[in-house]
Symmetry: D3
Subunit: 188 residues, 6 copies
């Protein structure tokens, strides 16, 4: 049958193209970046990073430095918490950045930004950013639906609830809970 | 335990590949599927497929067979138009399917569904489908923002405008325009 | 039959308490209604009914009869499945109705309609209905956020997935799964 | 003062441009169209037409003929009801049309489509249509926020409520109510 | 002071009825809370409180204390304005609170938060809060569609318009208008 | 034919009404206002102003003065950039204002506010403002769908991207780009 034959041919084509790469035998590593403030990382963030880590060879977590806004945790502390939380995935690299995310991507040959998507109001702003980023650099943004269990979750909500003594043990990894409790105790 | 061992192996693999590139191991082909009715394919569909073709090694285009609804084009005609429109990308495979998209994915080892996202009303239904599909099979859905130029575009709008003699030359590839004009002429 | 007897007894109780309400010290029974097609009832519906059953003295489940659309289950079958699924709550009454929901409410002295709310596209239509119902009769509509775990769930999605052999055991009660499997088998 | 002088000069310029028109002394009539099915016209439609009639010299009401869908009222009946309802505005013209709205506009030199906007789900579809229409012909679509009192109102909701004996006297003009009651009585 | 005495009396009444609830035939008092900043209360807030006061035995109005943001009115002034505005309902209790709303609820045995819902952008944030609150404590949030007439109304919009001399007499109770005018005059 | 005759009669009527105006022969100028911060004007703003300039005789651009927020450009600089960008349209007047937009409109006999509409989150706030403005003064707000190419564009995004050295040449007029580059250089 014509169609399946062409199919086979093409599949082989594709394999060959990929197998042989251009000059060397090296395969193309598929990279993606998950950007955010991560002040601190929550189970919602982890859900997205975990999904990305299955879909890409290397997942970069980029912690945005916002000089005009003091966080609860320093950027170094946030990076440390993310590293502990993502260690088991085995293909996650954590770094800070300031400036434009698309420059971060170009320097590391990252063609895709992966973001969780929780709700509609999210979407509008994210769509603007995605189109701006694509226009600036060709970097694509891919939105992954957040696990519904974490759809209500944000770092600021976690901090607010924890600050008033609410229980957030189910919303962050255990060592983040510990760091959070310690930090909030010191602030009072 | 097997899985964690494989995990460890992979971790090393990944690092090694990152560090040294790979000499031996065959790379994992990254596959994604773009599903739809494609009755017929528009420049909006092509925009998404083109983006996916840069992000994945193989992009499957899956034409859904809907037995309860007669299309303007037969499934074979739609597949033919998609093949002509995507031939230049070099890594696109076009097939029809009926049943659950997740079964299509499992049979072909496709871990990701890539969909264009145009607007908010889209998003709600798509999110439902994405969560259902993820729950059934672990297949992830990734949403790519549609090029704003095509954000208003849909096959049914194209057909409606063309049926009344409106100009849709900027909305579909030339040979789709031709097929559309021919088909609509015969229907009257 | 035991259950309907208990039912009758309660209904009498209820009426008496409401009738005599004003002169004596007897309290006002708080009633609410959960309307829908329930073809068939899912865990998402049950989530809302369970929440309502804690917030109100009596929860009426009203199965809408739609004469222009044939369901997978008859109205009587749907009522039976709902009764089995809600028996444990102890304060749920299941009935069918046709016509305007506000008339159903007025006849039973129900001041509140309780609906689950899943997403934005839901909300617009629901808001229209709520304002129309309030304008017609003064009946209020209260929206309860659906448990995120069930936010993607709808009877039609369940039927579609089950029809193609997908696993929906986590989405409906066991006896609904059984009825669904049986019915779909007979349809083929 | 420099700015106000430039201001005056420009204002005169503008007036002259408009006064002298092209050949004759006639000013340019500002036209707009309010399209819809109007099956039948409601107070919500009237709210938008009334607003448009204050903003434009002539407001065209275009009743779309949908051959594949039988209405409750014939197109001529709908036109008659709209004419009676809008007679007092003095600058409203009612016609039916089929085909593309932009062709209707071009034939009558109408540069603007005016539509009421009720809610978000409205907006997405309307935005698609607006961008398609603008791309086809340069005709602009202007959205006017519906009076909140009528924001829940639609012809189909009115018909559904009236069919079950609900009171819709506050939602349509008196003679529409009469026609509606008569028609629904005959249908039973 | 008369009002607080009546208040105390009622509170005792209420407690007695709740306390003795289980052994005797006495009914459970149904409580709900309407939280907010109320700086100052508007007709939109009153619309929601009035609806809740018909659906529940006791409605608590909880004025959130936000230490990081200075209001136009002090918390005590806001409470006073709310008390005057809701006096006629007969079952409304007004208090301030700081901390987590769910703690306020637990201390007073309130199972339901009632909130007005104006629009989509509202909904996303509110849904997050509702799910967080439910997860923390089991307290349910019920959303009541705002009367469309007040759907555009917010305290901050009222203050902004009044500050520039715009007429807001139709948007707040007369004594709130008076207090607002006085306060804004003093601020200039 | 009756309808076309009535048509002709009415059209004449309309012309006469317009021609004779009040006392003089002058036609009624149709005015609209495009309000905003314009810090600085972008191609997205220009897209809306250009559309309005075709639909109205005079388009006022009103630059809102926000005393509590320092802009990147002074109000006079913004006005100057807008004047240069809109000079070619021939019927655009640029002014600053503070206070209520409806007062600006009343002083200049402007019955319509024209705003671009980019996305859903925009819409909710804009709808509130539109209904407030209409309630205060009868001024109507008309929303024009933004050209999709500029749908992601905002002054603050442009400034942020430009501040980090991103290329925004396709997003603003050349002399705005120049002013922006100059200003940002001086700020560092």
């Amino acid at each position: 049958m014509v169609r399946s034959r062409r199919f086979d041919v093409r599949r082989i084509d594709v394999n060959k193209r990929v197998m042989t790469g251009s000059e060397s035998e090296e395969p193309k590593l598929r990279r993606a970046v998950c950007p955010g403030s991560f002040d601190p990382i929550t189970n919602g963030h982890l859900d997205i990073i975990a999904r990305a880590s299955k879909l890409y060879d290397v997942v970069h977590v980029a912690v945005m430095i916002n000089q005009s806004k003091q966080g609860l945790f320093t950027v170094d502390e946030r990076i440390d918490l993310i590293r502990r939380a993502t260690a088991e995935y085995g293909n996650v690299e954590v770094e800070s950045f300031h400036g434009l995310l698309v420059d971060f991507c170009k320097q590391r040959d990252i063609p895709a930004i992966v973001k969780g998507l929780r709700a509609v109001s999210d979407f509008d702003y994210e769509l603007q950013m995605a189109q701006m980023n694509n226009g600036l650099s060709g970097v694509e943004t891919l939105f992954v639906p957040t696990n519904p269990t974490y759809s209500f979750l944000s770092s600021s909500l976690v901090k607010e609830v924890a600050a008033w003594g609410g229980d957030v043990a189910h919303l962050v990894p255990p060592f983040v809970l510990e760091a959070l409790t310690e930090r909030l105790k010191n602030k009072q």
